[in-house]
Symmetry: C2
Subunit: 117 residues, 2 copies
Amino acid sequence: MHTDLDATFAALADPTRRAILTRLAAGEATVTELAAPFAMSQPAISKHLRVLERAGLVSRGRVAQRRPCRLEAGPLRDVTAWLAAYRDHWAERYQHLDDLLDELRTAEQTEPGGGTP
Amino acid sequence: MHTDLDATFAALADPTRRAILTRLAAGEATVTELAAPFAMSQPAISKHLRVLERAGLVSRGRVAQRRPCRLEAGPLRDVTAWLAAYRDHWAERYQHLDDLLDELRTAEQTEPGGGTP
DNA sequence: CCGATATAAAACCTCTTGGTTATTAAACCG
DNA sequence: CGGTTTAATAACCAAGAGGTTTTATATCGG
């Protein structure tokens, strides 16, 4: 179930791509909408989107000629999980929160609800 | 006060470097100690360490001919902070945990000394 | 001082990245 | 039908990343 951390981190290492994700956090957008803020050609943005897509951070629908992009934040969860192992190195006094989180999480897992695909 | 997210994410995008960080989470280590597990030349590891160092993830002391490396997890905190903005996208039902975390955090800040070692 | 140990530096190679422009493909509109 | 919009593809290029081997630099231990 691992996302590919290599691909995820590499995708996140580019400021343009992070900006795209930030934009997508506000809702779906087409390629030209995403390209607008950047001083960069449309193919360049398409390439960035392909990187994000291969990292699983973005998915695309199809509406007429448009390819609306949507944020898929699943990989970010895996990144967070990886980072968790180091949390006590930068905030030792909060390390017990990990256990707290786990408790709450498993508690909430017992009662079913909507989930991400 | 921002760490350079570009550099941090790029540093984390390599599995060798992540393995090095994992190793360093267990305590300081010299370059040759770090290099040992990898089927890779010593200069290659030195290069990886330089990347980690420039990203602020590793600092080095000097003991005789040895350059002991130590984990500096500060940048990971900034990564986590950046990721936090997307948390409700991958686990909406847990979003209230953010507030919970903040509550606990400030609560612990008000009463000093009572924390975990 | 001499040799071994530990690490960095240099020079080099190849593959990837991030960008470009020009072209193609598909679906809309009139 | 023909033209316009939206996006992907292709071909190309410069720069960087990740690796190598070889060489240099400190520093220890006799």
